[in-house]
Amino acid sequence: MNKPLRRIAIFCGLLVLALLIRDNWIQYVQADSLKTDSKNRRVAIERYGTPRGDIIVDGKAITGSAATKGTDYKYKRTWKNGEMWAPVTGYSSQIIGASQLESLEDGILTGNDDRLFFRNTLDMVTGKKKEGGSVVTTLNAAAQKAAFEGLGDKKGAVAAIDPQTGAILALASTPSYDPSTFAGISSKDSKTFQKLDKDSDKPMLNRALRETYPPGSTFKVVTAAAALENDAVTDIDAKTDSPDPYQLPDTKTNLTNEHGVCKNATIRYALEQSCNTVFAKLSNTVGNEKMREQSEKFGFNESELDIPVRAAESVYPEDNRPQNAMAGIGQASNRATPLQMAMVASAVANDGELMKPYMVDQLRASNLDVIESHDSEPLSQAVSPETAQKLQEMMETVVKTGTGTNAQIDGVTVGGKTGTAQHGVDNKEKPYAWFISYAKLSDGSSPVAVAVVVEDGSANRGDISGGGLAAPIAKSVMQAVINSKK
């Protein structure tokens, strides 16, 4: 009977071997995909099982973690002044999931990032509990506050950039929401989210990054840049050949001006008084192709602008001649995000060089070791330094004596451009008030460029103007940045 016994012994050995192979399959080969399966509840437990790392502004955390009574999710996310910071951080909700920075930097915030592996292994050996790292942003708390409070009850958005580095200093959007109100997992959290999601005022829309608007007259800066770069205009103080009213090419439609004496006006005067006729004609002279090229140098038509949260694509499309002429005054199918218009102002302020905007300065481990650090990098040379110089002169005239006087700051040179963008069928809807500007210190350096848009639904139609509604907000944001530099 021993021969079959030996065979049974081998058979039993094979059974064990089969189990061992299967075990290697699920615990080694497939381990990672099983472990990170989004339906595997451990993923969420991990995210909320330990205090989440913080998002830092000016050395202070703008987020936090609160212990909860739940068995699965021990901590939930909290925000300090969540409404103000929501456009920067996004949300991190146990029941909904995460968005924006909270989602993109989740690995660092939970402490699961691969770059923390060695540290985590070391902690495991020494018995230290795993902690999330922190995300250090480039934002300026004072500027953000000025932007958020400046917008107040109005619908709108503010984006502010440091022209020399591309660092984002303020990113506000109103009406906003407090992500703390649905950070948990209860049905109340769920209901709050549903309500916010369905709100017709779209509080969860990040207008500064994710909404595109007709740029209106602020786009005239881009048109002026294209005209100067393509030698349609060489001297900003020379008379242009511009009729008033201007008949749009290939049409019988006459374009007029809101104010100013625009017939044959110089380009400096045309920008100061926001002459539609001059810039529509210039756009037509430069042509659709060159206009598009110039816009793209400023960042238009880029569908993957990640800061690291992806911004919506600002567009300057291929178009026929009349549409292209209208696009030259920002009133056709070209659209821009507030971030995009801030980039335009920043490129002008930075002598024509456009820096890539970014809002995460450093990723840090829980012991403050820097895991990753952002180096500012140029995105393009939008215009030549000479052109930039001329644009600066013109924009400074706008603030000194033109439509943008509300943005003047004592002791600081401010360049800007107002805009009042018509929209809706037959332009019946209440227009958007725009203002883009930059500040220049006495040493010639420019610490801030800003774009403000107010889509105001409450004021009288006549009152809505970039200079009246948007410029004061831009001014206080610039002031806040300058004060914090001192």
Partner: protein
């Protein structure tokens, strides 16, 4: 047949050689590890969960130590030549099982469940009862051949045990499987005990009938086909397995009994044809039953598509998320595991500490830990078969291989089911899983194997002075 006799004679002479070491000290040293390792694991869980050494440490350590010591002393006294590995292996697995069950008792998630009971004190009691039965077996079963007398009583007893869960008012239906009975508040799984009793019956029956089954056959296409009337017993056992499957909807027990019978039949007759028949019949039986039994179909479905079943379980009653949850537990453990007490295997929910307990080891001790545990089981099985090889009597051989084979099959069926290698069947992982019947019956099983191995390795008694000795001297070549 003659060759077999020859080899067994040779074995008898080698194993029976004077001076075989008893190996009891080896066993003692191994037992020390088998107690210390679970104690460390217990401390580890306590530190991981509450940052402190668990309060019950002394009681647990002493309890496990005392059980092991008494077991060892009894073996030393009553079965001095028994295999030195099996007692330490069983103790280690039992100890680790207790730690895992205690760890799951601490789970807040499971504590919220309506069916929660604190399982570890009960399991400790069951383990003590198991070791007690182990001791009783060793003390009172002086020679395993005594069991041979109870061949047909065993058959009757095993049938009764298997039918008990079907008795109205006694049997319980737990999530579709009817393998439990309830007596005085305790639930018992008679199948676990039937496993041993039926092995006794098979061994006794096959020992008597092996020649008839092996020799009276016709040769056909290279296979020895048994005579029709000799097919009787295998058909009866097959029918019984099918009945268990149909009425108790218990795939595991059914497979276990039939597999055990085929193994023992093959060993008894040395005819490969029986294996072929066995495999054919189990295939026919399984496919046949699966074609109309919804419970079996569901298990197969969950095996083929655990994720789909998981999705369904969120909305449709009667579907189970457990297969997928178990896979996630294994996957999340990875190579080295999260460390004891730091995993989330309690997400499996119901039966996390019984049928699915291997997933807890998988998540918290990782691939390394599970492979170690599987190898421990492999060692027990192979030591059991080694005992069968060493045994000098056919009954002992058959009983030892039957018990070890059944043990091995059970481990394969439950571990393979939990890891998604084969469809899941409701069975317990011997010694580790929570369940009184399983622990007690398996301790008895180890007791019987130790008894057989003691008999096998015991030096032949020095021949009594025989007046005829000189006259019957054999001259060997």
């Amino acid at each position: 047949m003659s060759s077999t006799t020859n080899t067994s004679t040779q074995h008898t002479s080698t194993i029976g050689a004077i001076g075989t070491p008893s190996r009891r000290n080896t066993e003692l040293a191994l037992l020390a590890f088998a107690v210390v390792i679970p104690v460390f694991a217990y401390v580890n869980v306590g530190l991981a969960l509450n940052d402190q050494v668990p309060a019950g440490l002394a009681a647990y350590g002493i309890g496990l130590g005392v059980m092991a010591t008494i077991g060892h002393l009894v073996v030393r006294k009553f079965a001095p030549y028994a295999d030195p590995l099996m007692l330490p292996l069983a103790t280690l697995l039992n100890g680790l099982g207790l730690v895992a069950i205690w760890r799951l008792d601490q789970s807040e998630r499971l504590q919220l469940s309506k069916t929660y009971v604190e399982a570890s004190p009960r399991q400790l009691l069951y383990s003590a009862m198991g070791v007690a039965l182990f001791i009783v077996v060793l003390i009172f079963l002086k020679d395993h051949r005594v069991l041979q007398r109870y061949t047909y009583i065993s058959m009757a007893a095993s049938l009764v045990l298997l039918m008990l869960p079907l008795v109205p008012g006694l049997g319980l239906d737990v999530f579709g499987a009817k393998i439990w009975i309830s007596i005085a508040g305790f639930t018992i799984q008679p199948g676990e005990f039937a496993k041993i009793v039926i092995a006794v019956f098979f061994a006794g029956y096959l020992m008597v009938k092996r020649d008839a089954l092996a020799l009276a056959s016709r040769r056909f296409m290279g296979l020895y086909l048994p005579r029709g009337r000799d097919l009787g017993p295998i058909l009866v056992v097959w029918a019984m397995s099918i009945l268990i499957l149909v009425f108790e909807t218990d795939l595991g027990t059914s497979l276990l009994f039939f597999g055990m019978f085929v193994i023992m039949l093959y060993v008894a007759t040395e005819r490969t044809s029986w294996i072929v028949f066995g495999l054919l019949m189990s295939a026919v039986g399984a496919v046949g039953v699966a074609s109309f039994e919804i419970h079996v179909q569901q298990r197969v479905q969950a095996w083929l598509d655990p994720m789909g079943e998981w999705e369904l379980s969120k909305t449709v009653l009667g579907h189970s998320a457990q297969s997928m949850e178990a896979l996630w537990a294994f996957g999340s453990g990875g190579t080295l595991g999260t460390g004891l007490g730091q995993g989330n295997s309690d997400l499996i929910g119901f039966a996390a500490n019984s049928d699915f307990i291997l997933a807890t080891f998988g998540e918290e001790l990782g691939l390394a830990g599970v492979m170690a545990i599987l190898l421990l089981y492999g060692l027990i099985v192979e030591r059991g078969i080694r005992t069968a090889l060493a045994a000098r009597d056919p009954f002992g051989k058959l009983l030892a291989v039957g018990l070890s084979g059944a043990f091995g099959l059970q481990v394969f069926v439950v571990a393979g089911g939990v890891m998604g290698l084969i469809p899941l069947t409701g069975m317990t992982l011997p010694f580790v899983a929570y369940g009184g019947s399983s622990v007690i019956a398996n301790w008895a099983l180890i007791g019987i194997l130790l008894r057989i191995s003691d008999t096998a390795r015991r030096p032949a008694p020095s021949p009594a002075p025989n007046p005829d000795a000189e006259m019957t001297q054999v001259v060997r070549p």
